[in-house]
């Protein structure tokens, strides 16, 4: 009887603690309505069926961690140039170039370039890849470009520049960053391949100007709006 009484005060104290420090905050904090509903978006608006002279030939969607990756593959009418647009919603910071380079592609050059899109301008990190195949013979040029769109614009910060420690808070749910003025960025990665028809060597500059033309027909503002509601 004496020993039973030893545990009873502990259980009573524990129950009181649970009630005050877990139950009360649960009913006061957890039951509050969420700040805002997650943004609704149409994939067709973000990745339209036609971009300049390119038409979509395939669409894919997949889960990437906590985010969703939307992919659209475009081709010109001759099938000579292929572009793959991949954007990730509900994810956050993601350097597409770094992600692709991890596949072991041989890099020829890498730079950051300001480009004009259909409705704004954006900074892309661009990487040119070499054609390693024995039968390729430099007939094709392959680029990977990435940017990250937020409410203030689309720009990519090269990995080398991202440094320094910062203390901060991630709000509400695990993995949900709340940045009051600037919501989660929407990362966009584009791979672009251009092949010469007659077997001649495809110069980098030719391919790059084709890539610039493609971007000049693509609208980035829907991605910025999505970032605002993300």
């Amino acid at each position: 009887m004496e020993q039973s009484q030893k545990a009873s005060p502990k259980l009573v104290a524990f129950a009181a603690l649970v009630l005050l420090c877990a139950g009360l905050p649960h009913f006061l904090l957890d039951r509050k309505p969420a700040d805002r509903a997650p943004g609704q978006y149409s994939v067709e608006a973000l990745l339209p069926p036609v971009v300049g002279s390119f038409q979509v030939v395939n669409r894919e969607q997949g889960v990437l961690g906590r985010g969703i990756e939307h992919v659209a593959i475009y081709q010109d009418s001759a099938g000579r140039r292929t572009a793959q647009f991949a954007l990730i919603t509900n994810y956050g910071i993601h350097n597409g170039v770094a992600c692709y380079l991890a596949r072991g592609m041989p890099v020829q050059w890498r730079r950051v370039e300001e480009m004009k899109s259909a409705d704004s301008s954006a900074t892309f990190e661009i990487v040119s890849l070499g054609d390693q195949s024995l039968k390729g013979g430099n007939r094709s040029a392959l680029f990977i470009a990435s940017t990250e769109c937020t409410t203030v614009g689309c720009r990519e910060i090269p990995l080398e520049i991202r440094s320094g420690l910062q203390l901060g808070w991630i709000r509400k749910k695990l993995g949900t960053e709340s940045i009051s003025a600037q919501r989660r960025p929407v990362p966009l990665s584009i791979t672009f391949q251009s092949t010469s028809v007659d077997g001649s060597v495809k110069t980098q500059e030719q391919a790059l100007s084709e890539f610039r033309e493609l971007i000049s027909n693509f609208k980035l503002n829907p991605l910025r709006e999505l970032s605002a509601s993300n």
């Binding site: 020993q3 545990a7 259980l11 524990f14 649960h26 292929t82 054609d131």
Partner: protein
């Protein structure tokens, strides 16, 4: 006669004291503790647990964390069932529970404190840590230091409910994918298979190619093997230093086996170039190859503690 929470051997002398300390009375007391603890868990961690379940379902690598909870529960029961101890609950356990609740209130009110760096964010109060502190507090409060010491390792498995935090992944994922992709490329060159840079795949022909996806970084196998070596090392009661070596060996071996898998897959693709029916089943071939390699490595890894125990017994006998 009241019942103890944990089954003790009948001939143990301290059964009555143990039972007495626990019995508010017997199973009713146990049920009351479980009920109050469960309510505390639900109220304090409910929204965070919901996010964790979503993470387990949506992330193949993190899904390994599902095993941490039943593994911790089963090993705790095993650790306490066959041992005798003096159950002296400590009020420090209540302080630990209070501290945990304070952490959850902070997280709910202000968010999760993080240390940001280079795009990654290190959670300073990860969910696994909070759950571990909470369960540790309950153990200390009702079972005491001795029981907690016995259950320390099993309970510590709760720290692994999210075995691959985003911060960790940010730094190791891409370099490991890079190593995997380069190994496969070099091996392909070595066996004389030309590769085209088409759609970022390792293309063996215009229609046949493999993509070194995030799943190919070797971390799933390495984490799974690390998790298994931790548990096996504990069950075989290896010395702590050996357990550490065993764990590191298991992780490295599993990672190297992933590179072997990628090279094996390159060979499969090479064969599939000439065997049309095989080319249609390359995804299945990847799974079969991966499973066989992991299974073989597991048998080898699990033989080590058994061998160690045999050697130790021989040394004791001689």
């Amino acid at each position: 006669m009241t019942q103890s929470i944990f089954r003790a051997r009948p001939n143990e002398k301290n059964v009555s004291s143990l039972a007495g300390d626990w019995s508010i009375s017997g199973w009713r007391g146990l049920s009351a503790i479980f009920l109050v603890s469960g309510l505390g868990l639900w109220w304090a961690f409910g929204s965070l647990l919901h996010s964790l379940v979503k993470l387990w379902i949506g992330n193949g690598l993190a899904s390994l964390g599902i095993l941490a909870v039943p593994a911790a529960a089963i090993l705790t029961v095993l650790a306490l069932r066959s041992r005798k101890w003096r159950a002296n609950g400590s009020w420090w356990g209540l302080a630990l529970c209070a501290l945990t609740f304070l952490m959850t209130i902070t997280v709910k009110n202000y968010g999760i404190p993080v240390l940001r760096s280079s795009g990654g964010a290190l959670h300073l109060l990860p969910l696994g840590l909070m759950i571990w502190l909470y369960v540790s507090g309950i153990f200390l409060l009702f079972a005491g230091y001795e029981a907690y010491r016995l259950a320390f390792f099993p309970l510590s498995l709760l720290l692994l409910v999210n075995p691959a935090p985003q911060f960790f992944m940010y730094y190791v994922d891409l370099p490991l994918q890079y190593v995997g992709a380069h190994t496969a490329r070099i091996f392909a060159g070595w066996v004389g298979v030309p590769l085209e840079s088409d759609h970022l795949r390792l293309m063996f022909s215009p229609a046949l190619g493999m993509f070194i996806a995030p799943g190919c970084n070797g971390l799933r196998g390495a984490l799974a093997m690390g998790f298994l070596t931790l548990i096996v090392g504990y069950l075989y009661r290896l010395p702590l230093w050996l357990r550490g070596v065993y764990f590191i060996f298991g992780v490295i071996l599993a990672y190297l086996m992933n590179l072997v898998r990628l090279c094996g897959l390159v060979l499969c693709y090479r064969v599939a170039l000439n065997v049309e029916p095989l080319a249609r089943h390359m995804e299945a071939a990847d799974y079969v190859l991966g499973s066989l390699i992991f299974f073989s490595a597991s048998i080898f890894v699990f033989a080590i503690p058994r061998k160690w125990n045999n050697l130790r017994k021989q040394a004791q006998n001689s």
